[in-house]
């Protein structure tokens, strides 16, 4: 059950965490252990637990939660830092191995996005997504991994997964894809240009220098990825913060006209404007970080925030019926969830939402019910 007071303080703490802003202590003065517990629970569901925990732990003695909860919060911070350290260690090892094989890669999302946070190691880590952009490298790595006896799992047609030292790694042959064929074709041409030009952005992560997508394309891709998950199943604040912080750090490197044209050509400008409005209204984000004209209409912005708060990380924490464990029933649940979301957010992006019930069904028929 949602509680507006919890939501409101959570958003305030999150805004303070991602922009390194002071907390308004007048909002903290009389909170009890139960209230803090709910804040921590929401932060976990949104996959921003270490950010919120670290911000709470920075409060003065009188404002802090009870002692037992402080230990719990500290553990959350430590765990996240530890897991990020592990992720970076695996990335370092993999970089060495790929370099020896002569296989360059582009780091997509993940710890690359972490570099835009005030404290990068507090971003909840996920997996490592590497784009293998040179011809033949995607297949070569498959053979190389198979030769080492490492299990490979095919995913959605644009990447396969494997594990290394407990970290999940996804090797991609494409950056992303669109459900709508027209936009997918268009994006393929963007990818082809990129592969030809190789004008990647060099970024430092600890002592490692990695290639990332060019800034403008990355700003676009981070949103497209967020929005794709949003319309299918939902997203949490981690994904939203990734986009906000990327733009906040790189705004000066993005040409607004060019970015607007790119977003428009993929019918994503209005969804971006809605998310930007939501960021401005609920996280006190300055509209100046957005490389496009912002809007003041709150209609969808309010719904988007409500939905993120309700859905949690990748829609896993939505209230109500949970995905059944049985395979076919689980598939049906996923399908009906998307249909429901299509109705709810169809007008926000008719091009990307309204075709989903059809494309999802066709995709399932095509690959079968495995």
């Amino acid at each position: 059950m949602r509680d507006p007071a919890i939501d409101s303080l959570f958003l305030h703490l999150l805004g303070a965490a991602i922009f390194d802003r002071p907390v308004d202590v007048s909002r903290i003065e009389t909170l009890d252990a139960l209230f803090w517990k709910k804040i921590i629970g929401l932060a976990r569901r949104q996959s921003v637990s270490a950010l919120i925990a670290d911000t709470i732990l920075s409060l003065s003695e009188e404002m802090l939660p009870p002692r037992e909860q402080r230990f719990q919060l500290l553990q959350l911070v430590e765990k996240t830092q530890f897991l990020n350290g592990k992720l970076l260690s695996v990335l370092r090892d993999l970089t060495e191995e790929y370099t020896q094989l002569g296989i360059p890669y582009v780091l997509l999302k993940g710890p690359g996005n972490g570099t835009n946070y005030p404290k990068p190691l507090l971003r909840n880590p996920g997996d490592l997504d590497l784009l293998l952009y040179r011809k033949g490298d995607y297949e070569r790595t498959r053979e190389w991994l198979a030769g080492k006896g490492i299990d490979i799992v095919d995913a959605d047609g644009i990447h396969y997964k494997f594990e290394k030292d407990g970290v999940s790694i996804e090797n991609h042959r494409r950056i992303t894809y669109f459900d709508h064929k027209k936009y997918d074709r268009l994006f393929r041409s963007v990818e082809e240009n990129l592969k030809r030009e190789e004008n990647f952005y060099l970024s430092s992560i600890g002592d490692l220098t990695v290639q990332q997508l060019p800034v403008e394309l990355n700003a676009f891709f981070i949103f497209q990825h967020l929005f794709r998950h949003f319309v299918h199943n939902g997203v949490g604040f981690r994904q939203f913060c990734d986009w906000i912080l990327f733009l906040s750090k790189h705004r000066q490197e993005i040409d607004a006209d060019s970015f607007t044209a790119l977003s428009k050509s993929f019918a994503l400008l209005y969804p971006m404007q809605v998310f930007a409005r939501a960021a401005e209204k609920y996280l006190d984000v300055s509209p100046s970080i957005f490389p496009f004209a912002t809007i003041t209409d709150d209609k969808y912005a309010d719904r988007v925030i409500e939905d993120i708060l309700d859905s949690g990380n990748f829609g896993f924490h939505r209230s109500g019926k949970k995905r059944p464990a049985q395979k076919l029933r689980g598939m049906w649940f996923s399908y009906t969830t998307t249909v429901h979301r299509t109705r709810k957010f169809g007008a926000l992006s008719p091009e990307h939402c309204q075709i989903l019930p059809f494309t999802k069904l066709m995709h399932r028929l095509k690959i079968g019910f495995r």
Binding site: L57, E61, L64, R70, L74, Q75, E78, F82
Partner: protein, 89 residues
């Protein structure tokens, strides 16, 4: 004695927390609370080898307390660190 590698100290409110990490597993992370003088001693010592006597001297110098009290404080802290497996003897 020497404090183990991979620890950090963080001040939370009025209290210092010492967090000790295992290199490869979170399961071995330890968090203990420290008072001001304990945090001072650990901060001063870092990863250098130390003796209880050196810590007693540091406490006397910093807080101007008598030797007996300093010895008791140091013994309590050393016992705690040994119990939590945070020092190599």
């Amino acid at each position: 004695m020497r404090l183990k590698e991979n620890y950090s100290i963080r001040k939370i409110g009025d209290e210092f927390m010492m967090i000790s990490h295992h290199e490869s597993s979170l399961d071995y992370t330890r968090v203990i609370s420290l008072n001001d003088s304990a945090a001072y001693l650990i901060g001063e010592t870092g990863h250098h080898v130390f003796t209880s006597e050196e810590w007693v001297a540091l406490l006397i110098e910093k807080y101007g307390i008598d030797r007996t009290l300093a010895e008791i404080d140091v013994q309590v802290l050393v016992d705690k660190l040994i119990r939590e497996n945070l020092v190599d003897a």
